[in-house]
């Protein structure tokens, strides 16, 4: 060992020991039992209905960008729920542990969470919400929509696409298992230096955090390469840059950020690993280390990451406003320029995450002004959405409601963001719950855009619309929760309440914390409404079937092909003649014209390599966390061998003959004809 480890280590099990399993924890132990029972039930049901072959052939080994996208979104939703539960636990603790006279249970002096557990929960909440909920949800939508919007049959690298998904799944599995084996980091989602060093975090929590983040970063980088290559090289004939749907532009700008910034995170995390595993001193306080170097490195990724998640959300809103305003997006070129401007400026603002570091006034001034510059293109976007509605014909279906909600949240987030950008104000509210309220407002813009997109694109992917009543119920409950949780949080920020308090010393804050707790309960109701929404929609799916253009007023290319989209996307690749191709075809009365003949289609084969590599990286991550060196070596060797094997094997793909395509198309058209009757 190059470092001194507190606790035991042996060659066979590494740091793993029975004492690391929290079987005596009153919250985790019952949860573990529930998870095991649930897993047995699910696996049993799959076996009972004989669905293993179906699952393996159609989903686990698929390289179809739509199915991978759906799985990304499923992972995102599951993790969103887990992150929400973390949030609920944080709120409950803060509503309970107020003042010296508040009671305590489960070993806590106040509330029900000890500092040890509270630190882990808020750290997991952050990591999960940003990297394993928002990111997979958005990547999922990019995966499903972008290839169809540009008229491609699949991604440029279908196998790489699957690999990205399974790395993300492995990361999710790793953070979930940290609940039951060992502990998670307490250093916040971004990691405080030097608290993540071995002296101040002797457990395995930080190691879980490092390898989870590394795996997500790897998956997202691969995804970024793939999406960029797809947009640049796979566009249908006639799909010039000036005709790209706006969501594709948003995705492009976001992935330029991803590709260029994620490596910085990977390096920063690798250096922490060097400190913790090899006894290096990159970010230690002493012996030549520089802890602020880490903070800089992290936010050089961290801030672009913020725009990596917000830009696709803006793109989604830019698709939804025109559809339900029944007119083209106002200022297309401006929107493209604004997206690119945000992407560009995203590199120049990282220091505003730590104005309080004590940098000189010149440095802080420069980053303050750079930060405010972001407000210009963002403001332009808001105005452009407003003027898209101007002279329109607005339908307030639930997708539109979510999009409008996102717009209003962006106004509030923008206002508070411009406050935080001023160092003189920032000194007062940095590290207070005001900042927490601000970035939750911004992340809720993303969540609202995602739920808008779920409603909007669901019929494209599954062929039927979601139930409008339950969708609206969920929207209003969710929005009520948002107001109840975050308005008091802004107020508490002005009262000087700081972040991450396991115990709240000021009883004056108590009523506000109780209102927030009530808000969380309302959020919980919206989660139930979402479940009801899915149940009712699937139950009544026969009633809500749709044709190619699900909304009747859609504009971009994805609405040209059938709903659900056939696995080859388009029977014949379309020739693009206008910016809003489907709207253009509808206006010219050629939206229902079918091709006169079909041709053979070349498609990629499924592969099991991606999921096996995902499984092996999970094993590698787990072995690294517990320092089981033989297992590290073994899994790494297997990964390298498998990558080499796959690269020699290649994939010649397969051909769907024109006759088969014709048969499938006829079937789809017959179905569409039935629906329109």
């Amino acid at each position: 060992m190059l470092v001194d480890l507190a606790g035991g280590w042996n060659p066979m099990w590494g740091r793993l020991a029975w004492s690391q399993i929290p079987y005596d924890n009153p919250i985790l132990a019952p949860l573990f039992v529930a998870v095991v029972v649930g897993a047995i039930l699910v696996l049993g049901l799959i076996t009972y209905y004989g669905k293993w072959t179906y699952l393996w052939k159609e989903w686990l080994t698929t390289v179809d960008h739509k199915k991978l996208g759906v799985m990304y979104i499923l992972i995102g939703l599951v993790m969103l729920f887990r992150g929400f539960i973390d949030g609920l636990m944080i709120r409950t603790q803060q509503a309970w542990a107020v003042g010296a006279h508040s009671s305590g249970v489960f070993g806590a002096t106040h509330g029900y969470l000890t500092p040890f557990h509270f630190g882990q929960i808020y750290s997991a909440h952050g990591v999960i919400m940003i990297l394993l909920a928002a990111t997979p949800l958005l990547v999922g939508f990019m995966n499903i929509i972008v290839p169809i919007q540009i008229g491609a049959r699949d991604m440029a690298y279908p196998y790489l696409n699957a690999l990205g998904l399974w790395f993300t799944a492995a990361a999710g599995a790793l953070i979930m298992i940290s609940l039951f084996v060992g502990d998670f980091a307490h250093n916040g989602w971004f990691g405080y230096a030097p608290i993540f060093e071995l002296q101040y975090s002797p457990g395995v929590g930080v190691d879980y955090w490092i390898w989870t983040m590394e795996l997500v970063a790897l998956g997202t980088t691969l995804g970024g390469i793939n999406i960029l290559a797809t947009i640049i090289k796979m566009r249908a004939p006639g799909m010039t840059w000036g005709r790209l749907p706006i969501f594709v532009w948003a995705t492009l700008s976001a992935n330029v950020i991803a590709l260029t910034s994620f490596p910085a995170l990977q390096v920063a995390l690798a250096l922490i690993a060097a400190d913790r595993y090899l006894g290096a001193h990159f970010f230690t306080a002493g012996l030549g280390g520089n802890l602020m170097l880490y903070t800089n490195l992290f936010w050089i990724w961290g801030h672009p990451e913020v725009y990596f998640v917000i830009l696709p959300a803006f793109g989604m809103m830019s698709e939804i406003f025109p559809t339900f305003s029944e007119k083209p997006l106002f200022g297309y070129i401006t929107m493209v320029l604004a997206s690119m401007a945000i992407a560009g400026v995203s590199w120049l603002v990282w220091l505003h995450h730590f104005f309080t570091m004590g940098a000189g006034p010149y440095v802080n001034s420069a980053f303050s002004v750079a930060t405010m510059l972001v407000g210009i293109p963002t403001g332009v976007k808001v105005f452009n959405w407003a003027f898209t509605m101007y002279r329109g014909r607005l339908t307030f279906n639930t997708a539109m409601l979510w999009a409008i909600g996102a717009l209003f949240l962006l106004l509030i987030g923008g206002l508070t963001g411009m406050m935080l950008a001023v160092p003189a104000i920032n000194y007062m509210v940095h590290n207070s719950v005001f900042v927490v309220a601000h970035f939750h407002t911004m992340l809720l813009v993303i969540v609202y855009a995602i739920f808008a997109s779920v409603i909007y694109w669901f019929p494209k992917v599954f062929g039927f619309k979601l139930d409008e009543f339950w969708a609206k119920t969920m929207f209003w409950l969710f929005s009520a929760g948002t107001v109840l949780v975050f308005v008091p949080m802004y107020m508490l920020g002005f009262m000087g309440m700081t972040r991450r308090l396991d115990y709240v010393f000021n009883t004056v804050w108590h009523p506000y914390l109780l209102v927030m707790e009530f808000g969380i309960a309302v959020y919980m109701l919206s989660v139930l409404a979402f479940v009801a929404l899915l149940y009712v929609s699937i139950r009544d799916h026969a009633k809500n079937q749709v044709g190619a253009d699900a909304w009747g007023t859609s504009r971009s290319l994805e609405w040209l092909t059938h709903s659900p989209v056939p696995f080859y996307n388009f029977a014949v690749l379309p020739h693009i003649s206008a910016r809003d191709e489907v709207a253009w075809r509808r206006d010219n009365g050629i939206d229902h014209v079918q091709p006169d003949h079909y041709e053979d289609i070349h498609m990629p084969n499924n592969t099991g390599v991606a999921i096996i590599l995902g499984g092996l990286t999970f094993v590698l991550g787990f072995a690294l966390v517990w320092r089981i060196w033989w297992l590290c070596a073994l899994s790494l060797l297997a990964i390298v061998a498998l990558v080499i094997y796959r690269s020699f094997k290649g994939d010649p793909g397969y051909i769907i003959t024109a006759a088969e395509v014709e048969k499938m198309e006829k079937e789809a058209l017959r179905r569409e004809a039935q629906i329109s009757k």
């Binding site: 040890f116 303050s368 014909r393 001023v422």
Partner: protein, 321 residues
């Protein structure tokens, strides 16, 4: 002139800020610490906050109204506004939608830069410009440990743990460092946040305009004891401050390099224990920075607060007072 404008702006806002409180609890004092500054630094922050909210709030508010109006006017089937299915561009509107944010950002940038210099923690002009030659500044060396605050008064060769006492109407200059991990020094009604980092020295300054007791907070997560790492800041008149210094000097305990080493061990200050040290070995602040830079750490035991009740029993049994 400018000062007058500033004050009327702030007073108006204070009454507005009080309104929701009166509805909710009506207890004494303004719980909105950020709107109730008691010193030059916090006062300046509030001024810029009001300017920023004034400018941005106007734009955001008007935009929100515009959106609501569009939503009302162009709702399908109501036939309130004219529908134009192809309209998607206007040079005039483009100029306006780029122009408004550019002008707003330009104006706010000016205020942001000026404000940054005014309360630059290393040399706040808002203090240095108003400084009267008679008032000698007080110097305080702040050393954050896991999880206590030690305030060393080098001019008086004494130190106080977990309580900060300062004279009113006097500039106070801080030097700050930490032993183990990073945290942030924050007194909401007096001065904004500054990071406190091990092996490094930061600075801050304040000048209080009122006598009173104000809450100090460790506002950045530093581990298990962060929530209890608070301190009271007592602002006294010069005469009272002199008496208080005499009281501290009568304390039987003193702080040396060696005793500091034990003092800096992990300690969760649940009972807000305050300690006076009548003398402090010279150069303690620089000594701590040197030690940390040479690799000294104060490690945390594994799973230290997994059971907080049990940990507190253990800590109490140590009798470290």
């Amino acid at each position: 002139m400018q000062v007058k404008w500033r004050n009327s702006l702030k007073n108006g806002w204070r009454y507005a800020a009080l309104a929701p409180i009166l509805l909710l609890d009506g207890c004494a004092g303004n719980p909105y610490w950020i709107f109730d500054p008691k010193g030059l630094m916090a006062d300046t922050s509030l001024f810029y906050l009001l300017v920023d909210v004034g400018i941005m709030g106007t734009i955001v508010g008007l935009t929100a109204l515009l959106v609501v109006w569009f939503m009302w006017r162009y709702q399908k089937g109501k036939n309130r506004g004219k529908y134009d299915p192809v309209w998607s561009h206007s040079n005039t509107i483009e100029v306006v939608v780029w122009g408004i944010p550019i002008i707003a950002v330009g104006v706010l940038s000016y205020f942001a830069v000026v404000g940054t210099f005014e309360i630059n923690p290393y040399n706040p002009t808002v203090i240095s410009k108003q400084r009267k030659p008679a008032s000698d500044p007080v110097e305080v060396d702040v050393i954050a440990t896991d999880w206590q605050w030690l305030f060393v008064y080098p001019q008086y060769h004494m130190a106080v743990a977990n309580e900060l006492v300062l004279p009113a109407h006097t500039p106070v200059f801080f030097r700050l460092t930490s032993t183990a991990v990073t945290t942030t020094f924050f007194i909401p009604q007096l001065v904004g946040m500054i990071d406190v980092m091990p092996g490094m020295r930061t600075k801050n300054a304040l000048e209080s305009s009122n006598i009173g007791e104000y809450q100090g907070i460790a506002s950045d997560y530093a581990g298990a004891g962060t929530s209890w790492m608070t301190f009271k800041t007592n602002i006294l008149s010069s005469a009272d401050f002199g008496q208080w210094v005499q009281r501290v000097r009568q304390s039987p305990t003193s702080m040396t390099y060696t005793s500091f080493n034990n003092y800096a061990d992990p300690y969760i200050n649940v009972h807000h224990k305050v300690a006076y040290f009548s003398s402090v070995q010279d150069g303690l602040f620089d000594h701590v920075i040197d030690e940390v830079m040479n690799g000294k750490t104060w490690p945390i035991p594994p799973m230290m607060t997994e059971n907080m009740v049990a940990y507190m029993q253990k800590q109490n049994a140590q009798h470290r007072d």
